[in-house]
Amino acid sequence: MGNNSERLYVPRLARVAAVVDETPTIKTFRLAFDDGPRPDFKCGQFGEFGIFGVGEATFCFASPPDREYLEITVKNVGKVTRAFHNLNEGDVITLRGPYGNWFPYDDLKGKKLLFIGGGIGQAPLRGLLWTCLENRGDFEQLDLIYAAREECELVYERELVEFEGRDDLAVTLALDPVCPGEPIPGWRGRTSFVPPILEEERPSPEDRVVITCGPPIMIKLVAKSLLEKLDYAPGQIWTTLEMKMKCGLGKCGRCNIGSVYVCKDGPVFNYEQILSFPKEF
Amino acid sequence: MAEEEKQSVRETAAPWEPNVVGFLCNWCSYAGADLAGTSRIPYACNVRVIRVPCSSRVDPLMILRAFREGADGVLVSGCHPGDCHYIEGNYYARRKLIALKQLLDHVGLDPRRFRVSWVSASEGRKWAKVVETVTRDLLEAGPFHYEENGDDQGRAPGRG
């Protein structure tokens, strides 16, 4: 690290090469770089993406690092993300990064991995999941539980269909129970929050690592369930945290939790570290 | 926006013409302006019209934002008192605009830059006259810059 360009805040420019509508509120953007090779990054890192005249926002890299393209997935929730949703092919955006740390791929090798994604939280997991699938021999077992509020909020739908067809990855899809007990017409997956699924399936903690990302409340409840009901150790859970960030460089002070800069020391954290933070979140 | 952009527009456009943002109520003034057009009454073309449902929809924020975005003058126009499509909207608007007017006058803004008029749907001629008056006044008042130096690079509090 410490890869300091002389002009720290001057971004690179990227061109929108393709736009995929994932859901009514989520789009994936494929970016192309006309001024040189695309930035090199590792699974779990993020960048500061922006549109001149609107501002910058933090998004993780949602594509695997070994592909020639780079993708980000953006949910329309605020000023900058709304402007992203108005982009067309050929429009120019700005990019600083990659910033932050990454998933400890080498330490995960040889383990059974359980991915748990929630809504847009699937984006930071996507790159790692694909990397694991492409090096399937490195891992004993791969499972994915992916939950969303509604069917129309599942991202990467086509990929999910492909995943479900694979025999080297066990996929469980779940939607939030709107009215508990009532099946959703035509829904192929389950209707449940994630913790009940875990407590029913009881994936054994032996040799297993859980990698999760989603809304904070989901992360909290998943961790609680794993730690208290399934005998996992905090060290077996990895997650990536969402905090408001502006600089991404450990300067602006916004993402602090205790003495930790989420943008520099994270965004990927082991749950053991998270337990040592001040009880702020 | 953009002191910079405003400047570039000015550099290319000669001779200088004032930019006026006009907030027109849908029911009276907009129709009045329409009538001026269909009646082929000639008048200055300096007003950029923003149609609003009622003069009471015009928030002072919009007026200041128009100045910030480079307007040299702002005109709000609605139905005559008593004629509001919503019965009393323009009465409320009047109090609100009086308050803004007082403040703008107090801080020394040229009174020619912020105007209010009542123009009914049948007053095409009056609309033309209002625009002529506003434009002529602004031609005299000249371009609007609140700050002499638009760049704050290195600005520190207390310039002593």
Binding site: - | Y92, R94, A99, G108
Partner: protein, 294 residues
């Protein structure tokens, strides 16, 4: 004879003992300052005070305590504020215990003498401007009144600084305000110290659309202060807290004074005089004076 401090402490103790309030908002003295405190049952009441440095408008803390039963020290500034808040449906009167006090007039913090021993005897020239315009020194609708009722001197008219600024030409005023606005750091203390700026989301924080640029430049600062004054038009009770709290000393309240005076002259409306009067901007007369409309 008990001092006002002692009476106040006894009265508050009684309110807690009789379980009439959950919190008490008053002034305490500590580390050389008099400042507002929110006290709960079990707090040490021995620092409670009411003196000539009891500046803050305590009504500012009511939103934070909404839902609880609150005792509140109310000098005339709070009284007028509560009237405005009541007219706007913002207070739960049945949950409020108004503790009335005779106001001795506040000393202008910028004129505070180094030796504060003679604070009680300082004459009008040391007062905050608002105190020379006070209409009633005693709290009219107090549930509990402590201390002895004070006499109210004849209020002075007009605001000296406003008159000074208005004596300038338009160009001079523009230059004067530009100078003042170049000092502003947009800390928003003026907004947050104001008990009538209670909106949860203020226009300065809106970003869809973003009404106000974040860059701290005189024109943006003026934009902010004008809109704030407009939002207080016919509501501001001229407690001068906005000016007092300004760290860089901008007399922000001059803008409010302009509108308060104009509303009094045009519409015969004085904010906070009663809780019943209709707020000036939610009301109109058919023949409101319009002297500038084309």
């Amino acid at each position: 004879m008990a001092t006002i401090k002692e009476e106040l402490r006894a009265a508050v103790k009684k309110l807690f003992d009789e379980d009439r309030i959950d919190y008490f908002v008053g002034y305490v003295e500590d580390y050389g300052h008099t400042f507002p405190a929110i006290l709960a049952k079990g707090s040490d009441l021995s620092r409670l005070t009411f003196d000539r440095k009891s500046y803050n408008n305590l009504a500012d803390f009511l939103p934070e305590l909404r839902g609880s039963r609150v005792g509140l020290v109310c000098k005339q500034c709070e009284v007028r504020t509560l009237n405005v808040l009541a007219a706007e449906g913002q207070i739960e009167r049945d949950k409020l215990v108004v503790v009335g006090v005779p106001c001795p007039a506040m000393v202008d913090p910028r004129k505070l003498p180094a030796d504060e021993a003679g604070l009680d005897d300082l004459d009008e020239s040391y007062w905050q401007e608002k105190c020379r315009r006070c209409l009633e020194r005693n709290t009219p609708f107090a549930d509990v009144f402590v201390g002895e009722r004070a006499s109210t001197p004849t209020p002075a008219e007009g605001w000296p600084l406003l008159q000074e600024v208005e004596a300038m030409s338009a160009e001079e005023r523009l230059a004067w305000w530009r100078e003042q606005m170049s000092l502003c750091i947009r800390c928003y203390a003026c907004r947050l110290a104001c008990p009538l700026c209670y909106c949860h989301q203020c226009f300065v924080e809106d970003n869809k659309p973003q009404w106000l640029d974040k860059s701290v430049r005189p024109e943006n600062n003026l934009h902010y202060h004008i809109i704030r004054a407009i939002h207080l038009a016919g509501r501001c009770i001229e407690c001068q807290e906005c000016s007092r709290v300004c760290p860089v000393g901008i007399p922000v309240d001059v803008l409010n004074n302009v509108l308060a005076r104009d509303f009094a002259e045009r519409f015969g409306y004085l904010a906070g005089e009663t809780a019943e009067a209709k707020p000036a901007l939610t009301h109109y007369e058919r023949d409101d004076k319009e002297d500038f409309i084309l």
